[in-house]
Symmetry: C2
Subunit: 484 residues, 2 copies
């Protein structure tokens, strides 16, 4: 294990976090919340001090970076970011318990959007902004951002590859690896531009500038923290439709936007994952509209709420316009399915990812055929490209670990004595980075009732879900730290 | 596809079914239910006629039997058995709808034990016996029985192997294949002897001979059809403990009994699957006892009900002593876990099987290690034996198809508009051949409220679950029937 290299990387990430806290500091100063400004300042100083010491200790870092360094790097970065990022909530006394503060910021960085706050409207704007901004930072991946910003010296191909593998959502990153750094820059520019367009369109709907900013950041990161207690329930149909469409857009694989920017529009439009993703949204919206048509003023209202909720859940955002926990069980069941499926790989969304579902179905079909004709050899293709057996093996392990971790988590939090649907949907909502679930963790409720032990389990789930399991498990495994 | 060979086999299985109906015919005559005797007689004649015609058409069957013939054979046999086995219920008018009759007998043969009857105590004993006897027939596998009884000519190794693969529960049958026929005979003798001991012990508890017989048959097949409306709720503690222990015994891999009979006691006792199975039962019983200790007269009562229910659910039997649907959600959650896990491979029990869980955990551990050290090569071992990569691949496909089929089934039956827990537990209870679920399909309720379409889905699930998916899917696949 190349500890110094990992340490150097950690120090740089923490320096970046200190910079990210400056806007919140400015907001608190503008709002004359000087006590809060002091809390942010103290936090920033602690981070800078820690980063400086780490940088000094690891100044002689040598190259030599393998997969396990990549995993530990990603895992350690996200944990450190969260440990320090929770401090403003804790110092300000707005969230008196540190585990609760940690839950809130992990929920932010992992773009989950599950909150332990009963009431958000009375929170200072600086803290609300820090919550929503953490979605934006975590959405596209903070490590990727660092890679886009800095060059880690020559011969860094292995380095970037392993970091990217560890942080990026989806089963395969090979297609954007070759020109990794340029691509990271382009992806972040696309991310920024889409967020800006979303922000401007919200402003055009007469939304308050601060609320629009937080909403746009939460939409872009597919996070889901709201600035109102009823999430988006009190906004106009225009705002709701704009958000619906942008949630959908942020759930699409960003490499497709990259293709469109580089004028390969025809390739982008033929993407199989995109087709399945849009098909799922269409079917789910239709079914739910049909099911809840009696609950709202007219069919248009029903479509609006159905489309918004489907888009919000499938992309793992977690905003809501109505209390969908009160919908009939058929609609709630559909939403539960969407929670598992999740968005496209390479988007800011969470969940199992549509492409994995496609690969699983194809793999199951091939497996059945091979059992009938044992000598048959068949490769799996997506968009005409052959998928290697290594990727398929990794997918199988991913599915296995995904199912096992989900079951173990449900078992662990069930000691709290809540309803089965609460436990199942809470774990699903955290593991897939959605936010709200059903019953006790429904859209108008929150996670504050869980015991600290259960919150710790859910924090672990959120991190494991966002980093797609491996980095977090690698960090927990002793063999990672053995010498070769 | 060697249709004539499949046809010949089908004809023999049907002849066997006709013989199996004779006891019910005798019981109906003894009870002077002559109208019912007539229904059974008609059914037997129809079966014999059908079998005879099939035998005649396929008299020139040639050898040549591959895996796909094995699957189609197994699938077709179970479907035919069910289609004809449902006739007595239908002819007698006791279950007026044929789909309902089919549901009942499929639930019997697959040892599920889910019923659509609101009331069983008023049913004629001949029909009750047929229901319970179908558990016993289906428990050990009717095809295996046929293989034990008849010799299909020389050079039949491929034949027996493929049939056994298609019908036997568990990921690997290799260890009992070499002396297949003798082993099948020994297994059935063990099955018969254990059933007899169970029957005698129930009689010693002053149980009515007929009730004891049906209960023993249902326990042996891990089926779960009762002859009373409250299942085993009204019997003495002695009867309940005897049944608890025998359910557990029938959930153990029968090859371990084989080892004990051949005096390899030490090998049997070291079986990893057995250890995990007993550990799961112990932990689940302890947790549930602790959770429900306030609900019953004392700790001993709580242990009794907890142990009985754990044993009943993990072995996929489905008997009950109390309405466990009223237990706290923690206990219900534990039972839901047990539903998925299921019993040991090679037992009469259903579910995912403990050995598969062990293999999955080992495979996940290996996968994680390999991701950290990509050049590492490691084999998976169970009881010191190396598990081939082919078995592991098949297991991955099994897991994938298992999860996908479960999700699709839940989606399909959710159109009925029942609660999520009803849908999830109904599919789990049918797919894993348990019987009762929660909410609308709780232990004191039944499956009669579902629409015919949902019942058809659940019938499919029961068959697919009992035959471990492949034979049923192979039957539905066009490529099975293509010429090579």
């Amino acid at each position: 294990m190349n500890y110094k290299m990992v340490g150097k990387f950690l120090a740089e990430i923490l320096a970046l976090e200190a910079i990210f806290m400056l806007p919140s500091l400015v907001i608190s100063l503008c709002d004359k919340e000087y006590s809060l400004s002091f809390d942010f300042l103290i936090t920033i100083l602690i981070i800078v001090a820690f980063s400086g010491v780490l940088m000094f200790l690891c100044r002689k870092a040598k190259m030599g970076f393998y997969q396990r360094e990549g995993y530990v790097c990603a895992g350690a970065c996200w944990i450190m970011l969260s440990l320090f990022g929770a401090l403003p909530f804790f110092f300000s006394g707005r969230i008196p318990n540190y585990i609760d503060s940690l839950f809130e910021i992990v929920s932010g960085f992992t773009t989950t959007g599950a909150t332990i706050l009963n009431e958000v409207e009375s929170m200072p704007r600086a803290l609300l902004f820090w919550r929503s901004f953490s979605h934006w930072i975590g959405g596209m991946g903070v490590l990727v951002l660092l890679l886009a910003l800095v060059s880690m010296g020559k011969n860094n191909n292995g380095f970037t590859l392993h970091i990217l593998r560890a942080e990026s959502p989806g089963p395969d990153v090979s297609r954007i690896v070759p020109k990794m750094r340029q691509t990271a820059v382009i992806l972040y520019v696309i991310y920024l531009v889409l967020t800006l367009i979303n922000y401007i369109m919200l402003l055009l709907g007469d939304m308050d500038w601060f609320e629009a900013l937080c909403t746009a950041l939460g939409t872009a990161g597919t996070g889901g923290f709201g600035v109102k207690n009823d999430s988006l329930g009190s906004y106009s149909s225009y705002i709701i439709w704009v958000t619906t469409i942008f949630m959908m857009l942020f759930g699409i694989n960003f490499s497709l936007y990259h293709l469109i920017v580089t004028k390969k529009f025809k390739v982008a439009i033929k993407d199989q994952e995109l087709h399945v993703y849009l098909f799922i949204i269409l079917v789910a919206t239709t079914l739910i509209t049909f099911n809840i048509r009696g609950n709202y003023g007219g069919i248009l209202e029903a479509i609006k709420h159905a489309a918004f909720q489907v888009s919000s859940i499938v992309t793992s955002t977690g905003y809501c316009t109505v209390d969908f926990n009160l919908w009939p069980d058929f609609s709630r069941g559909i939403l539960l399915f969407l929670m598992i499926i999740g968005a496209c790989a390479g988007s800011t969304g969470g969940g199992f990812k549509v492409i994995r579902l496609i690969l699983l179905v194809k793999s199951a079909r091939r497996g059945l055929k091979q059992m009938l004709s044992p000598n048959r050899v068949e490769v799996i293709r997506v968009n005409g490209h052959q998928i290697s057996e290594k990727v398929m093996n990794t997918l199988n392990i991913y599915l296995t670990v995904y199912v096992l971790m989900m079951l173990v988590s449900i078992f662990l939090i069930s000691f709290d004595g809540n309803s089965i649907l609460t436990n199942v949907s809470a774990v699903m909502a955290c593991f897939n980075n959605i936010g709200p679930g059903f019953d006790m963790v429904g859209p108008l409720s929150n996670f504050s009732e869980f015991s600290l032990a259960s919150k710790a389990v859910l924090i672990f789930d959120m991190l494991a879900g966002r980093l797609e399991i491996m980095p977090i498990l690698a960090m927990c495994s002793i063999s990672t730290y053995r010498r070769r």
